[in-house]
Symmetry: D2
Subunit: 141 residues, 4 copies
């Protein structure tokens, strides 16, 4: 299974995450209106027991800051991660479509607090909280 096999659900569009890691992570999708991200679990995401590697779900969870970036990858803000915490509730097997529903809890001048539920077919596979440093320019809200 690889990225050519992905049938993208209606309302999801390809997100531009830039060069570097995103190039090997594979395509990530964003919902057209809601703060939701998604990806399809492919062969290169698997761990030795053939379900999605915890590091891949953590990497995907770290993308939750994207809710603050218009078109993400294209946003002007820069938000280095301070803390990322992920709890794993169920395995995400090969071929499943993993969605992250992201909530912006608070944005101050210094910090951004977000959290996300990662689901497969409506069942939670992981949940995550994150704290980012807000280093946006002063003109930014």
């Amino acid at each position: 299974l690889d990225r050519s096999d992905i049938e993208v659900p209606k309302d999801f569009e390809l997100a531009d995450l830039g060069p570097g890691l995103p190039r090997i992570f594979g395509p990530v999708y964003r919902h057209a209106r809601d703060p939701r991200l998604a990806f399809l679990v492919c062969d290169h995401h698997l761990n030795p027991v053939n379900v999605c590697h915890g590091g891949i779900l953590a990497t995907f969870a770290d993308m939750q800051i994207a809710v603050l970036k218009p078109g993400f990858g294209g946003g002007r803000g820069h938000y280095p991660t301070i803390n990322l915490s992920v709890d794993y509730l169920a395995p995400a097997p090969l071929g499943c479509w993993v969605e992250a529903e992201v909530a912006l809890i608070k944005k101050t001048g210094r910090l951004v607090f977000t959290q996300a539920l990662l689901t497969v077919n409506g069942g939670v596979v992981a949940r995550s909280t994150a704290i980012y440093r807000n280093v946006t320019k002063s003109g930014d809200p």
Copy 2:
């Protein structure tokens, strides 16, 4: 910069992490005697501002359970991650050798608690705690 550029320090040897994600993560090294893991930050590990992606450090941090796996990848035990928490203290730039010094805090019949300090040239770039489920067979230590 890619994996062909890696000069592996004395006492570190290639770790066999199996197929799937490890194949795209790139080589990970283990110390011959100490509970230490390492990797070299390459182009495919970078985020859009050209330092190691937080997800990559989280993925590397999730490997801390390897201290319980002889030769790791080869261990018989299976330890699904329950919680992975990572705090990011400093950026890890392209070309740096990131080491994780892992401590096994406690192993019970049900759970394994580990923690790790990730350093570059002796300076801490991240710290992590993890909880794994112990699903080893009863004959296992």
Copy 3:
């Protein structure tokens, strides 16, 4: 300010949390229908800079498992905490009514995952995630 000064909002009733710590923590309230807990910040909850001590908010956050205990304190289930994580977003000053809105994310035969938003007048002061061990008897759901 002490516990005799508390005007309890409509729909909240005193929760019975049993002896020990609850006796010094002071009264905790539960919503009649929703998974919501509350307490009033009194003098004995303050830190040296006169806002609610982080440890008090953490203690209150640890009570989120109460959503699984009918009448709580009275529930038959026993759920030792495995992980409690709290992020502090804003100070909770003397005299404020702190509510926790709790969500049960998942309950398996082994573990319970909950999370909570702690608010004062609708503004988030803290958020928390928790993992508990499920040691209820087998007859329990």
Copy 4:
């Protein structure tokens, strides 16, 4: 069992934690030379199953910032907690002497990262990580 029953080990001295919560938490001790804190589990620290309440251990864990405060309570620095994470490994029963061995991982101009192992007779009962905001005046180290 109450605070009058405490036999304080050699090298530990009473810590002055100021008014408010510390007055009901009960006495906390600090090692004369090492970054170690301690308290004795008394009746008012117990949960309904008669071991130390998770919130009490979390409150104690939140005191780990004390390593940055000379004589603590007396330090000039102010360090509001941003994140406190506690993992519970074993129960701490009535009458046990709980020590926290604290490590300062990094202090920047903005943030302080610490972690602590909580032990009883050398066995780990909890471990904790914390992130504090550094709001000390510029003259402070």
